[in-house]
Amino acid sequence: MAVDVTIPTDLWEEDTEAAITSWLVSDGAVVSEGQLIAEIMVEKVQYEVRAPASGAIKIGLPVEAVAPKGGTIATIS
């Protein structure tokens, strides 16, 4: 069963979109739940994205792409 990796909805208050600044894993890598997998940025402030599940990750959006709160940026299966 695939689990979506989404932009957290509770890290900043406004409805601002986040930009992906770094993927810290490669497409297809096996990740563990809780592992730091990406950094995202909102107005010059960086936030961390951690894996919501263990499994192989399929990256959906590249570095510099923008996503809204709750938007899917990868899937883990």
């Binding site: 600044t21 770094s22 993927w23 490669s26 890598a29 096996v30 950094e39 940025m41």
Partner: protein, 350 residues
Amino acid sequence: MSSVAVAAANERRLTIARAMAEAIAQEMRIDHRVFVMGEDIGTLGGVFGNTRGLFDEFGAERVRDTPISETAFMGAATGAASDGMRPIVELMFVDFFGVCFDAIYNSMAKNAYFSGGTVKVPVVLMTSTGGGYSDGGQHSQCLYGTFAHLPGMKVVAPSNAYDAKGLMTAAIRDDNPVVYMYHKGLQGMGWLGTEPAATVHVPEESYTIPFGQAAIVREGRDVTIVSVAMGVHNALKAADLLAADGVSAEVVDLRTLVPLDRETVFASVSKTGRLIVVDEDYHSYGMTGEIIASIAERDLSVLKASPQRVAYPDIPIPFSRPMEQFALPSPEKIIEAYGKMKGRRGWRWM
């Protein structure tokens, strides 16, 4: 499991910012003399992210936010190092060197010599370099040559997170002052521009990269492209474009400017016969001229064509985005330089 899958499972990619912070934390855990100071390096974790997590782990005594007074804290770092400590001091932008250059140039770099070697000054001066994100001429310079020119200091400039960690660990353990110049566009901080290729696998365990050993990051036969930091990524992109036209480019990442690995550059140019030096620092009186001179004065006969340089033009860095982008080194300018060596004009000769 295939070897590729094993590698992916053990993968641990870090940005240069995280790699620097990890190296500092590991050295702070094993050496109580190591401490960090600078502007906004405490609770904020550094405006370029390279001291994140240190304040929480080591506290305000060893991770010290300073007032905006480079004159004072650069002198304090020199004094602390002379007295047995091992400070890591951040000059937030290298462009701000002017107000603390007496401490750097006349004390930090020379006290070991002045004292006949009885006083060591093991400072790591880490400082951000580079432009490309429209921050104007007093926040965008590289100034590699300004620091590499003066005897007494080592100068390092990593292009990726693996080198960044190993060079930082080596810098902290070195008994001499080391100027650690990190390019803002390689930090993985987003708003400074992003170069994904700088974010690479970094082992968790501590390791060092010896100073004075350049890395051949891409092998080739027809031309040698030499650079550091962001220039290495421009060189690699140029090498990809050249390869599409059947030209095989070798890319040399110097990694440290002082000491300078002239041997590796000479060996590479002896093989390819052609040399392009790429530098985001100013064109004149800098790294590009130094590299070319070191080949020319050793053996002109290895050269099949006049060496070329792709450097920042000798102008103040423009704030305007189109003007700044026009002035910066780029893969296209490197290809144009290669075409010039082959007697062609313009970069679209391919």
